[in-house]
């Protein structure tokens, strides 16, 4: 049984004074997320990622369709004690301190009073905010707020965690920490559904990705599969600054950096290139097949539907 099963969720807004112009924020979406996996929900800004999350959280109501989370209807309030949600650019009650906020949320999530205090300390330590007692949230930096956001999402030890652009606004250190945290969550057996438009994060973290654009799901697949297809190119690096003429004839693109040269050429010409380099007695440093990146898959998916007549 999938942890999250989206069954045709759809959202159309009626815009305009007489509500005549419908705007499709989300076309009927069918997507399943398996138990214990990390699924990346990729798409450019305005693709419908946040709309999907808002629908799943019950913040907005679908025009059609339904979803099941952990086997129950997504509107079932009991389900909510087992899910955590970090919204995009979260905003919290700024007159509260971090502990007060987590205490409030903990009570709302039904964390037993006895365990509440210790859980709060534990989760604050986990997200790297142990020394913030007494400081009101209005004084927190963006990165700190993001950490508080993650803290409130996992405080009640949910089985499924939904994160909307969890890395946004973080510096590289922060992003690294969040990535590590997400991997920890996975190792604890939790399911993570997160949306982002930063592909490198998705590539590093996700088991599977789903690409969405203009409200339509364009492709789903395991990261491995999508990027395993060798792009048919190979990268060769050698010592020195000289580029043999024969390599150029093979159609290699060469870049000289410092005292090494990096050349990318077709896989078929790999042997010929290596022979050419040996003849010139150049020292080979590395020979690596070039993998198709997620970015290419992504751009491909976006383009395909646009040329095929596209979404409304």
């Amino acid at each position: 049984m999938p942890a999250i099963d989206i069954l045709g969720l759809e959202k159309t807004y009626s815009v305009g004074f007489w509500r005549k112009r419908p705007r499709r924020a989300l076309c009927p979406l069918h997507l399943a997320v398996e138990d214990g996996e990390i699924l990346g929900f990729l798409g450019p800004n305005g693709a419908g990622k946040t709309t999907t999350l808002k629908l799943l959280m019950g913040l907005i109501f679908p025009t059609a369709g339904s979803a099941r989370i952990l086997g129950k209807e997504w509107t079932d309030p009991t389900v909510k004690s087992q899910i955590g949600f970090l919204p995009e650019q979260p905003y919290f009650y700024d007159y509260l301190t971090a502990r007060e906020l987590l205490d409030y949320y903990g009570r709302l999530s039904g964390v037993p009073a006895k365990q509440l205090k210790s859980r709060i300390e534990a989760v604050l330590a986990r997200v790297g905010l142990p020394d913030v007692s007494g400081m009101q949230l209005r004084k927190f930096s963006k990165g700190m707020l993001q950490r508080v956001g993650i803290a409130q999402a996992i405080l009640h030890e949910p089985k499924v965690v939904f994160l909307d652009e969890p890395m946004s606004g973080l510096d590289p250190m922060g992003r690294r920490e969040v990535r590590d945290l997400m991997e920890q969550l996975k190792s604890e057996g939790k399911t993570v559904f997160f949306s982002t438009h930063i592909l490198s994060d998705a590539e590093a973290l996700c088991d599977r990705v789903a690409v969405i654009h203009l409200g339509e799901l364009r492709g789903v697949g395991a990261v491995e599969e999508l990027t395993s297809g060798v792009a048919g190119k190979v990268e060769i690096i050698w010592q020195g600054t000289m580029v043999p003429a024969s390599l150029k004839a093979l159609g290699a693109e060469c870049h000289v950096t410092g005292d090494t040269v990096r050349a990318v050429l077709a896989e078929a010409s790999q042997d010929a290139a290596i022979d050419a380099l040996r003849r010139e007695r150049l020292q080979l440093l590395s020979v690596t097949p070039v993998r198709k990146t997620l970015e290419q898959y992504f751009v491909e998916k976006l383009k395909k539907s646009e040329t095929a007549g596209g979404a409304p």
Binding site: E73, T75, D76, P77
Partner: protein, 309 residues
């Protein structure tokens, strides 16, 4: 979606029930408190203070107090109350806030002067009120008329009434009738015609429903008085002609003195009582009559309401 549905249905039902309940309680509260807000009027010693407190909206406040005055009087009139203590203060405040509210003076003149249950029984206050009105509206002939009216009807001071009508007749665009009233007052004060003329003028010069209704009632009573006088004269004539009292009204018809059975303004036939007296069937229904009532008749006494004043 069933959870949400249940909430919607429950909230909807609860809303309707609470709404119905709140309306019921409001009505009950009205009964429990009848007149309570108005009692505050007794605590306001100075309309001038009230005027200042109204922050420039005295016109609106005057309208509110006027509405209260009319309601207060109307509610009590229906049940024939014995006290109308708040009527004078209410009208004083109304006119204090808006000295140009003509109908308030008319109302006061018509209903402050008569005794309960038809009025508050304070004719001096009525005079005071209308004089205040004249002070503030010296060119409005209606007010002189009202003044004269009070002197004539309740105080029976025909000299002062004539004087008031006279002053009024001198105002530009005055009703030409004022001059006539002033002149006739001296001679024919007690005549039915004079009373009838006054009530008719009152009826014609006001828009207020209650004042008009009151005028109509008086005119009907005058009609009855006149009818009874005439009928009793006829009965006397009959006796002279035949040597005995008629046994019933029908006899007068048979004798050719009347064309048909005479009826009073409520539509009931006049009755013949002993010794040639003509009476109305239901004197309670025709207030203000002076003739045609059985001997020893007392109009029903005014009621003491639980909630004073």
């Amino acid at each position: 979606m069933s959870g949400s549905r249940r909430v919607t249905v429950t909230a909807g039902l609860l809303l309707l029930l609470s709404m119905a309940g709140s309306i019921a309680v409001v009505r009950r509260l009205d009964q429990v408190r009848s007149g309570a807000t108005l009692e505050e009027v007794l605590y306001i010693s100075s309309p001038k203070l009230l005027k200042r407190m109204s922050l420039g909206y005295e016109g609106l406040l005057a309208d509110i107090y006027w509405t209260r005055a009319v309601q207060y009087f109307g509610n009590r009139l229906i049940v024939r109350a014995s006290h109308y203590n708040l009527l004078a203060p209410l009208l004083e405040i109304t006119t204090g806030l808006d000295p140009h509210l003509l109908v308030a003076y008319q109302f006061g003149a018509n209903f402050l002067a008569p005794s309960p249950p038809n009025g508050a029984g304070v004719p001096d206050k009525a005079i005071q009120l209308v004089e205040f009105g004249i002070q503030n509206n010296p060119d409005d002939w209606h007010l002189y008329y009202e003044l004269g009216f009070v002197y004539y009807l309740e105080l029976k001071d025909y000299a002062k009434a004539a004087d008031a009508f006279d002053r009024g007749s001198k105002v530009p665009h005055a009703h030409p009738f004022l001059k006539i009233l002033a002149a006739e007052m001296a001679q024919h004060a007690g005549d039915i015609q004079m009373a009838r003329a006054l009530w008719t003028t009152t009826y014609q010069t006001t828009q207020d429903k209650q004042i008009r209704a009151n005028a109509v009632a008086h005119l009907r009573a005058l009609q009855v008085d006149q009818d009874v006088t005439i009928l009793e004269q006829m009965v006397g004539l009959y006796r002279e002609q035949t040597g005995h009292w008629p046994s019933a009204m029908a006899d007068l018809v048979t004798a050719g003195m009347l064309r048909a059975l005479p009826r009073d303004p409520t539509g009931r036939p006049y009755r013949l009582a002993v010794e040639g007296r003509v009476e109305v069937e239901a004197p309670d229904d025709i207030p203000f009559i002076e003739k045609g009532t059985p001997p020893g008749y007392q109009p029903p006494p005014p009621k003491h309401l639980e909630s004073q004043p």
